[in-house]
């Protein structure tokens, strides 16, 4: 077919040109490699075939083939929409299938694109996951604690009723009430639909051959009706079941039922042994019901963390005030009307008993009771964590924006080749969304771990701690946040990144045009991040300092001792005068305690042993008024002196490692029939006998016929509730003389040489020798007690520190990103200047300058904000001023160091630019 050498040469050139173009176009298509090679050969062969029909026919064929190849990625469908065929009858039509295909392709392309940029993916994921996890955990806590309705019917009508005593600071405002008060309110009150009185108690439960001590509640009948709960199985008891004789019935908690009775549905009607007596199981409470939970109730009531069983009781007409009350008001009764009715009843009682102010009660809505004063703290923490999330979003947006700008050249090229802008925007959007979802997933995993940590390590006094969970609403919230974040920072950089003049981008290599967000705005954002981080750092610093101060506080005693509790069931130590085994016999209890202390002392490795009710850092037993011998009676309208009241054994202070200030402590010779004695703490001594030694003085407790007690010693102030408390007057009396009613539960303290826990086996053996049926419970070291007492400040400090570190990290990452971006933008310029002899340190300095400016402005604003805001934390601080200079110097320095380091790395990298490479890159 070769006719003429010139024609042949021209044909050869056309063929070569065609081959290279055609192969290039096929390379960009989705065609498989082997097919591609063959297709090129076939196309060239067909071109050769056309040559016989003339150059124009060949050229026309070549153009047709090139167009066909250029359209290849879209020629997928075999159906009627096949463009190769449709073209003969009026141009390609695109169906729904194509669009779905495009979307799938966008997703695929986005994922491939992300895999090519691991730094971006890791940075954005870390940033968003941290922000989302922190927000989700905090939101979960807040929504569970503050916003989820209480688990009672019409919870707005449920109120706690407490006693109170005006102008008396015992460190706790809520006081227990007396059975008499309760009975009068129940009988004469007009506002309550139902009301119940209750007190926590410990029960020895025997079931399935094992004994266990469980936390339970003695309550009058209407408790469940007042709260508005319904049993899971069986029926709850009511006021008709209070009467002695019908009161050997018990309601089990859902947990206890599952744990001890394997969720046996036939449990109702069965008998269990409680404190050695048979009780009939009446009902199983609904899952999660454990009223009262200690975290929801006033601390001085010493209620257990959760309640596992409920037994009915009738209100006592004598004995101490030791009851709490809960009632359901009739609908429509206002708080004012309720209070008026309560005041009316206490006035009646005051007149009857001729005592002023002794029967006052105050109603508190259950909501206020449970949530208490944590609401403002939680809201502040939630606000802080939202700031962290905003920082995270801004950071992620910055990173994506920088990435979009770096890709402008690629985008411009694709736009020039005919890719529609909508398609490019969509693709980048899909990319951002995929990234956001991935980061969101990581964040959720992190959040789930975080919530478990909060439940495990959160302070027991945080109300509703057990209810905190990642509930569906929280998941919806987090998912919403994730998508919102994806939209937010997906759309903006996508729009900014594609609004590019192709010629400009191609020519300048993406160097000099501003990409969407002006860099002033970016710098402003970063300065704000630095400021917020600094506020959080300062807050965390103050809380940490406060925590350290608490650890350093002199508690008045030393660690290194072991404590445990034993509860005596009345049935085994019954009062001999009574026909019913309801009350403990005081003589038998004293004998038991005495014998136990003696046995403990004999154990090898024991230095000292004693008992106390209650232990330091475990709250107070009771408080009482007293009279000082020779002191004038209090003027009318003035309150008599008040002190807390603790029952202890001989050598208690020696066992606690708390040396006496003066006088002696109790010994085994302070017996029931010897002279009544008392030890006072330093605070009481300084208050009542400011300038003299109180040893030898006498005081007396009401009623007036009680004997005088002689002060035999002054003890140091021991922390009773928490480390941060101020010392209050406390009197100590020997267990042989002071306990009323008899001590059902005693806490023993044993100081050992060496590891105190090694003592446990022999300790259990010796208690079993005294009474084989008594379980030992509440085994803790003094260090455990201290740990518990500092759990709340530790939690707050750790939480805020976590936020602060996260925020600082984010700010550092953001600044490093900005510096890196600026350095990359100026790469060419740097290359030129280095080539012209500029020193590297000068280049580093210039790159750093922008970062330093941002940090300086941010720090200044942050310090001002922190100085204003930390004042609000005054209540959370102990022994640290909200303007603590150390904190306010150290936190900006730490932040600057972190951020400086983050900026230095990209700056140093910029200075190592190889001038030739930088110029060649253009």
């Amino acid at each position: 077919v070769r006719d003429g050498s010139s024609k042949s040469r021209a044909g050869g050139r056309l063929e070569r040109l065609f081959r290279s173009w055609y192969a290039g176009l096929l390379d960009r298509s989705a065609m498989a490699g082997a097919d591609r090679a063959e297709a090129v050969e076939v196309a060239v062969a067909r071109l050769r075939d056309r040559r016989s029909s003339g150059v124009w026919a060949a050229m026309r064929f070549a153009m047709k083939e090139l167009v066909d190849a250029a359209r290849l990625p879209r020629t997928r469908a075999l159906g009627a929409s096949d463009p190769a065929i449709e073209r003969t009858s009026g141009g390609p039509r695109r169906g729904r299938g194509d669009r779905a295909m495009d979307f799938a392709k966008d997703v695929g392309q986005a994922l491939r694109g992300l895999r090519r940029r691991p730094v971006l993916v890791v940075g954005v994921t870390l940033t968003l996951a941290l922000g989302l996890a922190a927000t989700t955990v905090m939101y979960s806590v807040v929504s569970s604690v503050l916003w989820r309705p209480l688990p009672f019917a019409q919870p707005d009508r449920v109120f706690m009723v407490w006693g109170y005593y005006p102008e008396l600071d015992l460190g706790y405002p809520e006081l227990p009430v007396h059975g008499l008060q309760f009975s009068r309110i129940r009988e004469e009150g007009r506002v309550f639909e139902s009301i119940a009185a209750f007190k926590s108690d410990l029960f020895n439960l025997e079931a399935g051959g094992t004994r266990e001590r469980v936390d339970g509640l003695r309550t009058t009948g209407a408790l469940f009706r007042a709260l508005g709960v319904h049993p899971a199985i069986g029926r709850f008891f009511d006021e008709g079941d209070e009467a002695p004789g019908s009161d050997r019935i018990v309601v089990l908690s859902h947990d206890l039922w599952l744990r001890r009775f394997n969720g046996d549905p036939g449990i109702v009607g069965n008998a269990v042994r409680i404190n050695g007596e048979p009780y009939t199981v009446l009902a199983v409470a609904p899952a999660g019901f454990a009223f009262p939970r200690g975290g929801d109730m006033p601390q001085n009531f010493q209620m257990p963390k959760s309640t596992a069983l409920w037994v009915p009781m009738a209100p006592a007409t004598s004995g101490p005030s030791d009851l709490a009350m809960v009632g359901r008001v009739r609908s429509g009764v206002t708080t004012a009307v309720m209070q008026e009715d309560l005041d009316r009843i206490s006035a009646v009682l005051s007149t009857e008993y001729h005592v002023k102010d002794s029967f006052l009660t105050r109603a508190v809505s259950m909501r206020t009771q449970v949530i208490g004063d944590v609401a403002p703290t939680l809201i502040v923490l939630l606000a802080a964590v939202f700031l962290v999330l905003l920082i995270a979003c801004a950071n992620a947006a910055q990173m994506l924006l920088a990435a979009a700008i770096a890709r402008r050249r690629e985008l411009a090229l694709r736009a020039a080749l005919g890719a529609p802008r909508g398609r490019l925007v969509r693709q980048m959007f899909v990319e951002a969304l995929a990234l956001a979802l991935f980061a969101g997933g990581c964040g959720m995993l992190l959040a789930a771990a975080g919530i478990r940590a909060v439940r495990a390590f959160g302070p027991t006094r945080l109300p509703r701690l057990a209810e905190i969970s990642l509930d569906p609403r929280v998941i919806a919230f987090a998912l919403g946040l994730t998508l919102l974040t994806g939209l937010l920072f997906g759309i903006v950089p996508a729009l900014a990144g594609t609004r590019v003049d192709p010629f400009d981008a191609m020519r300048a290599g993406g160097r000099n045009s501003s990409g969407g967000l002006p860099s002033r705005l970016r710098q402003g954002l970063l300065a704000a991040e630095v400021a917020v981080s600094l506020v959080l750092l300062a807050g965390a610093g103050l809380l940490m300092r406060s925590l350290v101060a608490q650890y350093r506080t002199d508690l008045g005693f030393h660690s290194g001792a072991l404590t445990f509790e034993v509860t005596l069931p009345p049935v085994r130590y019954p009062e001999t005068r009574s026909s019913r085994p309801t009350y403990l016999d005081n003589d038998r209890v004293i004998e038991f305690i005495d014998h136990t202390i003696g046995t403990l002392r004999e154990l090898p490795g024991v230095e000292a042993a004693s008992m106390a009710k209650p232990l330091p850092l475990s709250g107070a037993q009771e408080a009482t008024v007293y009279t000082v011998e020779g002191a004038p009676a209090p003027a009318p309208g003035e309150s008599p002196p008040f002190a807390e009241y603790t029952v202890i054994g001989p050598d208690f202070f020696q066992t606690m490692g708390a040396p006496m200030i003066s006088g002696r402590e109790f010994t085994t010779s302070d017996r029931r029939d010897s002279d009544p004695v008392v030890v006072v703490n330093r605070a009481m001594a300084e208050k009542m006998w400011p300038d003299e030694d109180p040893v030898g003085r006498r005081i007396k407790l009401p009623p007036p016929n009680r004997p005088w007690m002689t002060v035999v010693g002054v003890a140091p102030d021991l922390k009773q509730f928490e480390v941060t408390e101020a010392a209050r007057p406390v009197m100590f009396v020997p267990f042989t003389q002071g306990a009323y009613p008899p001590l059902a539960t005693s806490t023993f303290v044993v100081r050992t040489r060496g590891d105190s826990r090694a003592l446990l086996p022999s300790l259990r053996r010796s208690i079993a020798q005294i009474d084989a049926e008594l379980p030992i419970a509440g085994i803790r070291t003094i260090d455990d007690l201290i740990g518990q007492a500092t759990a709340e400040p530790r939690f707050a400090a750790l939480l805020v520190s976590g936020f602060a570190i996260a925020a600082s990290l984010l700010a550092a990452i953001g600044l490093a990103g900005l510096t890196l971006w600026l350095a990359t933008q100026r790469r060419r310029e740097m290359g030129v200047r280095i080539a012209l002899g500029a020193t590297r340190s000068r280049i580093v300095g210039e790159v750093l300058r922008d970062g330093i400016l941002v940090v300086a402005i941010g720090s200044a604003a942050g310090i001002v904000a922190a100085l204003a805001l930390t004042r609000l934390m005054r209540g959370m601080l102990y022994d640290v001023s909200p303007l603590d200079p150390l904190t306010f110097i150290a936190s900006p320095l730490a932040l600057m160091a972190a951020v400086g380091l983050a900026c230095a790395i990209p700056a140093l990298r910029a200075s190592r630019v190889d001038p030739r490479a930088a110029l060649d890159a253009e």
Binding site: L25, L26, S29, M31, A32, A34, D35, A37, E38, A39, E41, V42, A43, A45, R46, K64, E65, V67, D68, A69, R71, L72, T75, R76, A77, L78, G79, A80, D82, P83, A84, I85, T88
Partner: protein, 126 residues
């Protein structure tokens, strides 16, 4: 790429999914029904049979071949002994492809009958 376990009814339903066949697919099946062939040969066959009216772009053609292979209408077969180029892929029609071709022929025949009824061809109306 045949379906040995399918009954004829299944094959019929399977093949019916591809109807109507595109021009190019019909031509490919027609060409392969006469005997196995390679890409270049099939293209030439199509061009000859259609008097040059159907002349697919090479890229589109290979794309169609790939899709038809995926759909099981055609399949790759071993090169015949007399093949000169070992790299060339040879294609053959499958039972499914044959059935699709048959169904399409029936459909087109019906179509032609309709057209005849209108007397467009000038012949006697049926």
């Amino acid at each position: 790429m045949s379906h040995p376990t399918s009954s004829e009814a299944d094959l019929d339903t399977d093949a019916r999914r591809f109807l109507p066949l595109t021009h190019l697919a019909l031509h490919v099946l027609l060409s392969l029904a006469a005997g196995d062939g390679h890409g270049y040969g099939i293209i030439r066959d199509i061009e000859e049979r259609s008097d040059g009216l159907v002349s697919p772009g090479t890229g589109s053609f290979y794309e169609i071949m790939r899709r038809m292979c995926e759909d099981g209408l055609i399949g790759e077969v071993e090169a015949p002994a007399e093949s000169t180029d070992a790299r060339r892929k040879y294609y053959g029609i499958t039972a499914l492809g044959r059935e699709a071709l048959r169904l399409e022929t029936v459909r087109l025949t019906g179509l032609v009958r309709e057209i005849r009824k209108l007397g467009v061809l000038g012949g006697p109306a049926a």
